[in-house]
């Protein structure tokens, strides 16, 4: 039994899919945020797997990209949670359903 | 091939294990088996050590605190009350464990385990000796910080799952503290990493051995910041506001009893050991002691340093009063964070100067040491004066926190 690139890609795909499901279907902003983080993780697993398995001089680029992805995820999480708090303070809810003041 | 080539390899238990595994490999065992065995053996050894140390320090802490407070402390069970921790352990093990009716049972059950695990895992990368390290990760320093920070989540879960407003308040405090002091902690470690150029703990120790110095002289300010931040992180008095019994009963573990409570106690001690070990490795030269490690087992030197740092914690606990939460938060953001940032900048500058001038270490390092101590003292005193000068008349931080924390909703019993 051998574990190869495809295995990790499938794991990444599953994480991404579950994250997508969460972020599209959850009513709670924090739930949506969790989905987004899972999607990040799926993508990260994929990237690191490529970095590990694909040969070439640029192999490390995958890991560097993940560093940036994690950085951005952290920033995004902080901002998103700040939005959640501001939203809650304004409207006493974190339902994304009701957070539609921006509608055109 | 003998199991032990030379008797003095016993100085380092790691050598013994390595030799044993090699021997196993020679016997045609599958390669994963020695790995598994060594992991399990190492883990067992670590746990055993941690528990024994904890038992000892429960006694030592009570006795020492009593001394500091000019009283006797436990002295009935066994000589000098040495069996008192055993009695305590038996009591804790046999006590009934109560789960509050409104509690989230899963989280309530998960929290004590989750709190202990990170502490033990963090122990895994601590180099007790030359080869006495369970996993010599090349990112060991970061690993300790990362793993330790996850414990906070379980502290929060304990408070959240207890359905008790004091528990929740304690949990919120602990989260707030973590967010504040984690930054300080990492910055303090970063300065060390800048000096050494590696975050593998073994490298840090060997760097100190190579230059025949301890980083405490080169990074006094970093040590100060790390010590304070870590003592906050592990909830040691004087910054144990997450379980401040005079304010919120017992904080996040108010509802816990029996061995579950014991787990929290264990986690606190082990986390304290991890912090002490980190300080010993990073600033106090680890298992090295100016060549003495050639004669004395390195782990012994390391444990002495570790216990010494832990003794410092006990001393602090017996000496200083508990801080208020807004003081603690303000201290992190307004005092420690700027100082740590300056420290990192300073370390970077010094390393650049050293590398550019290519001066010999014997010349540069003493200068840096003297300079850094002077700068550290100057910065601390100067910054404290400045902060005292700039102190706002009204303190929004406190009112804000009190309001935010005071707003916390907790689940009424009838709702469950």
């Amino acid at each position: 039994m051998e574990v190869g690139l495809e295995h990790f890609l499938v794991i990444g795909a599953l994480l991404f899919g579950i994250g997508l499901l969460l972020s599209l279907s959850k009513r709670n902003l924090i739930g949506v945020l969790m989905g987004i983080e899972l999607m990040f993780n799926g993508a990260n697993v994929t990237l690191v797997a490529f970095a590990r398995f694909l040969e070439g001089a640029e192999a490390l680029a995958g890991q560097v990209l993940v560093v940036f992805a994690i950085t951005i995820a952290a920033a995004e999480a902080a901002v998103a949670l700040a939005i959640a708090m501001a939203l809650y303070r304004r409207r006493q809810t974190v339902d994304v359903d009701r957070a539609d003041i921006l509608r055109g | 091939m003998t199991l032990l080539d030379s008797w003095w390899d016993l100085r380092d238990l790691g050598h013994a294990v390595a030799a044993f595994l090699e021997w196993l490999g020679d016997r045609g065992v599958p390669s994963w088996l020695p790995y598994l065995v060594s992991t399990l053996v190492g883990l067992m050894a670590l746990l055993l050590w941690a528990l024994l140390s904890q038992l000892f320090f429960i006694w030592a802490e009570r006795r020492l605190l009593a001394r500091i407070q000019v009283r006797l402390g436990p002295n009935r069970a066994g000589p000098f009350g040495l069996l008192q921790p055993v009695a305590d352990a038996l009591k804790v093990l046999s006590k009934e464990m109560i789960t509050p009716r409104g509690a989230d049972k899963v989280l309530f059950w998960l929290a004590p385990i989750g709190v202990v695990v990170p502490a033990i895992v963090a122990l895994g990368v601590i180099p007790f000796g030359q080869r006495m390290v369970l996993a010599d990760l090349n990112v060991g320093l970061l690993f300790i910080v990362a793993v330790s920070s996850t414990a906070t989540l379980f502290v929060f879960l304990a408070g959240w799952g207890s359905a008790n407003k004091y528990s929740l308040l304690g949990a919120m405090r602990s989260v707030a503290m973590l967010i504040s002091y984690e930054v300080v902690q990492v910055l303090a470690l970063l300065a060390v990493a800048v000096f050494v150029g590696s975050i593998r703990l073994g490298d840090i120790v060997s760097w100190q051995g190579r230059y025949n110095t301890w980083l405490i002289f080169l990074q006094p300010l970093g040590l100060l910041g790390f010590l304070i931040a870590s003592s906050v992180e592990v909830n040691r008095t004087p910054s144990d506001i997450a379980e401040a019994e005079s304010e919120i009963v017992a904080g996040y573990h108010t509802e816990y009893g029996g061995i579950r409570w014991g787990m929290f106690q264990m986690a606190e001690y082990i986390a304290g050991f991890v912090v002490a070990a980190t300080v010993a490795v990073l600033w106090l030269g680890g298992w090295t002691l100016w060549g003495l490690e050639e004669w004395v087992p390195g782990w012994l030197i390391f444990l002495i340093k570790l216990y010494g740092v832990f003794f410092l914690f006990i001393w602090l606990r017996g000496t200083l009063p508990r801080l208020r939460i807004d003081q603690l938060m303000g201290f992190a953001w307004k005092f420690l964070l700027p100082l740590m940032l300056l420290n990192v900048l300073l370390a970077g500058l010094e390393m650049v100067v050293w590398k550019e001038t290519e001066a010999p270490a014997e010349v540069v390092l003493p200068i840096w040491a003297v300079g850094n101590i002077a700068i550290g003292v100057g910065l601390v005193v100067g910054w404290a004066l400045l902060m005292g000068h700039l102190r706002p008349r009204n303190r929004p931080a406190r009112s804000l926190l009190v309001r935010e924390v005071g707003q916390i909703y907790y689940r009424p019993l009838e709702e469950v």
Partner: protein, 638 residues
């Protein structure tokens, strides 16, 4: 020292009152926003000043026209609207007709404004009144000056709007509101004809310029059928404005407005507009025998019918209103008999004495607090000047030599005798009726003993203030002397001379026997009135009981209002057309609209999620797009 009027000055005639309106309106607006004083007296003086300027400039314009060759001053029209095929210019048409009308409108309006100064002094809507009056005068001047039918139509509707505003000036009164609405709706009915005529002529010729249309008609570019329809449509509009049968019903009700408004409406502005319009397009009528006959018939019928109705009215202003209708019928009948100059001459003279009569009625009302002649009587003693002026105006209206009405009415009779003999007889009957109702009015109002008046504090009627008497005196002087203007046929030459072609209008010939007969009939009428209402030889009630069917018909105003309200409005429109429309609207149009709306709503509720502003929906769309596009790419390029 003669100098031809420049175009800017000509435009100033129109723009001065409009400017006054704008200033007063803006000031009122500012005041309602809390700026300035609560009630400035300046609005009247502003209006009077503006109209004075208009009058002076109008006289200059008239002088210019008289002196000019061809009795017209031509200004180049300016481009106004240019929408591919529709080219509308805006211009100032200054010829004999418009010059005379400008002068008359400005002159009468000026005297009315001065009079209003006193009459409206204590009205809360003082500023509003003068703003509307300015607009009214300006609109009428603009109508007269218009060189283009669309431009004319704009001012025409503006006049209609002002009449609505002014008739309903005391909108707190239910009757005023009703009268205003009635006037608006009835004239709108006529305007429909005018508008369709405009559209028709534009479709036929592509022109709306009056001169160009006249040109086209004279060269035969417009077919006789189209011309007849056009003339008929225009006449419908004119009949609406000038209260010709059967669209006359709004005018008596329009007495609900302030009396000076009535004076202005009846004398110079509103009702004159219809006659002016027909006169303005006179060459077209002259070319269409059918249209001309229609005009003559309607005019004659209106003249006699309104005269009959005038006999039975008890409200002094209503008597005058029917008198106006009757006199407008004279003018229309004159126009229908190719008598452009006599008709306009009569319009000219009539403006003065009719305005005077209304001002007199207002003065009487001022003294007695009522318009009901049955409660007046003997006022000659209390208000000698008013009495004097009213008698002068009434005799002028009847056509007694040598007052203004004699000259103009005599010309109308003469031309009718020459052209259409039956029109002559109708008009002669009208003269008798005029004399009869004016005599009745005079005897009921000023002779005998005072019968108490209306309301409190009118036990001792008194003469009106000087501010009201002075304009009346001026108008009285004009009523006496203005007929002499045409002694040398100057005005007729001016009018006929400004026609585009010779021989379109016929000039009347003065005959002694004709003059004598009309004066004789007039005196006869007044005499009969004296016998009945002055000497009371035969009591009016007896006459009424003898001729009771006629009296009944007259008192119901020939059932015209009943026809309109009962049969047409209630029966036909409300029960028939409106019901059908309502059903069609509710079931058909609403059903369709609601159905579409429902469908849209239902669809939108589904589709709304797409644009609800919810990030998740957008995220779903993005994910869907990624999946679909990736699948497509994989399928196309595996």
């Amino acid at each position: 020292m003669f100098r031809e009027i420049p175009e800017a000055a000509a435009w100033a005639i129109v723009l001065a009152p409009l400017g006054s309106f704008a200033i007063i309106s803006l000031a009122s607006l500012a005041r309602s926003l809390g700026l300035g004083r609560s009630r400035p007296p300046h609005s009247a003086w502003l209006t009077i000043g503006a109209i004075t300027a208009s009058l002076v400039l109008s006289l200059w314009a008239l002088d210019s026209v008289v002196q000019a060759d061809g009795h017209a001053v031509s200004f180049e029209p300016h481009r106004w609207v240019s929408i591919a095929p529709l080219e509308v210019s805006i211009g100032f048409r200054l010829d004999g007709l418009s010059a005379i009308m400008l002068a008359v409108v400005a002159g009468v309006s000026l005297s009315v404004q001065v009079y209003s100064q006193g009459y409206m002094a204590h009205d809360p809507g003082y500023s509003r009144y003068f703003a509307f009056m300015s607009l009214f005068t300006g609109a009428m001047l603009g109508l007269v000056a218009a060189s283009n039918l669309l431009q004319l139509f704009v001012f025409w509707e503006l006049v209609g709007l002002c009449s609505y505003l002014l008739i309903g000036f005391w909108f707190q009164r239910d009757a005023a509101r009703r009268a205003a609405t009635k006037a608006f709706l009835v004239t709108r009915l006529g305007d429909l004809g005018l508008l369709s005529a405009l559209l028709l002529i534009w479709r036929e010729t592509g022109e709306l310029d009056i001169g160009a249309i006249q040109e086209a008609a004279l060269t035969g570019a417009i077919g006789s059928g189209v011309l007849a329809f056009f003339a008929g449509g225009v006449f419908a509009g004119a009949a609406g404005k000038s209260a010709q049968f059967p669209l006359h019903v709004w005018l008596p009700d329009a007495m609900e407005g302030p009396t000076p408004v009535s004076a202005l409406i009846h004398a110079a502005t509103m009702v004159a507009a219809g006659v002016y319009l027909v006169a303005r397009l006179f060459p077209l009528y002259a070319l269409s025998e059918e249209a001309l006959t229609t005009v003559a018939v309607i005019g004659s019928v209106t003249a006699v019918m309104a005269g009959l109705l005038g006999l039975v009215m008890t409200d002094i202003k209503r008597v005058l209103a029917y008198s106006t209708i009757s006199q407008l019928g004279y003018m229309m009948a004159g126009l229908g008999s190719l008598g452009l100059a006599p008709a306009i001459f009569h319009l000219f003279t009539h403006a003065f004495f009719k305005a005077l009569l209304f001002l007199g009625a207002g003065s009487v009302n001022h003294a007695t607090g009522t318009f009901d002649m049955r409660q007046m009587g003997g006022l000659a003693r209390y208000m000698p000047f008013t009495f004097l002026f009213t008698v002068v105006a009434a005799l002028a209206l009847v056509g007694i030599f040598p007052l203004a009405g004699f000259w103009s009415k005599d010309e109308l009779l003469a031309i009718a005798w020459d052209e259409r003999r039956w029109v002559f007889w109708a008009l002669l009957a009208g003269v008798f009726l005029t004399a009869l109702y004016m005599g009745r009015l005079l005897f009921l109002t000023f002779a005998g003993t005072y019968r108490g008046g209306g309301g409190e504090g009118h036990g001792h009627p008194h003469e009106s203030p000087l501010v009201m008497l002075v304009p009346m005196a001026a108008l009285a002087a004009l009523s006496v002397g203005v007929g002499l203007v045409n002694l040398g046929k100057g005005m007729e030459h001016l009018l006929v001379g400004s026609l585009p072609e010779e021989g379109l209008a016929v000039e009347p010939h003065f005959r002694w026997e004709m003059a004598a007969s009309s004066v004789g009939v007039g005196v006869l009428g007044v005499g009969v009135a004296w016998l009945v209402y002055g000497l009371k030889v035969v009591r009016a009630e007896v006459i009424r009981s003898v001729f009771w069917p006629l009296a009944a018909v007259l008192e119901r105003k020939f059932f015209m209002d009943d026809l309109y309200e009962g049969v047409i409005a209630r029966g036909l429109v409300l029960r028939g057309v409106a019901w059908a429309l309502q059903q069609g609207d509710e079931k058909g149009v609403d059903g369709l609209v609601n159905g579409i709306g429902q469908a849209v709503r239902v669809i939108a509720q589904r589709v709304r999620m797409v644009q609800a502003g919810q990030v998740q929906v957008y995220g779903a769309a993005i994910a869907l797009g990624v999946v679909v596009s990736t699948v497509v790419i994989l399928l196309v390029n595996p």
